[in-house]
Symmetry: C2
């Protein structure tokens, strides 16, 4: 897989997993119905415990990004991704506020800040919806 962990990071491993898999879906590297490695194989591949992988998978299943079958394993949600929920909007605003506040204090220009947001968004969305049939 395209996952690369930083074991020294303050960000928990299972969080890094969740973020990178979501990023993979956003970039179109993972498409609806695509299979993900089993918890055991991915754990062995990354040199971590299977429960850490399972925790990430569980979170993404709970949020609706993944589907899990018994023997088939884990696949990317094929029945429509979750939309922009109130919870996500709240999380977005809360985290944006902290980032924007520090930007303001550091004297960042409004255009610079918004430009960064736009660039990051486009770089992710750029390769996404190419599979549209």
């Amino acid at each position: 897989m395209f996952v690369e962990l930083d074991l020294q990071s303050e960000v928990p491993i299972y969080t890094q997993l969740v973020e990178q898999i979501i990023e993979g879906i956003a970039r179109g590297q993972l498409k609806p119905g695509d299979p993900l490695p089993s918890v055991r194989s991915l754990a062995a591949d990354l040199g971590i415990n299977l429960h850490t992988v399972n925790k990430a998978y569980q979170i993404m299943k709970q949020e609706g990004f993944l589907q899990i079958h018994r023997k088939q394993g884990v696949v990317v949600q094929s029945g429509g991704m979750p939309g922009v929920t109130a919870e996500f909007e709240a999380k977005l605003e809360r985290q944006l506020k902290a980032l924007a506040a520090e930007g303001v204090v550091r004297g960042m220009q409004e255009e610079t800040f918004v430009r960064s947001c736009l660039d990051v968004f486009r770089q992710l969305q750029g390769n996404s919806g190419k599979e549209d049939s």
Copy 2:
């Protein structure tokens, strides 16, 4: 003070403190040279330990947002706030990427995402430096 803690939050108390004080500076509620409560009085006020307050102050001193004198106490940086450092840019991009990726997966429109970023930024910057009545 304007600080309100959520003791049940997964966000550490000292982090909530740092974020809310930075937000206060961004909003102009705290201006360069303004004094902050002593670690003991703020801790008592919030019903937390003085070391938790001290940890937040230390982080903000280390980053250059606060100045600390022996008896005078803690004041907002009056010798110029830290600018947009490479570290901040890295943090900004890393967190924005996670937020934008989830937004993309959830089918959020580019304009909607950028609009949120702009709105949040403006709401903070709007009042900076105008609090002088």
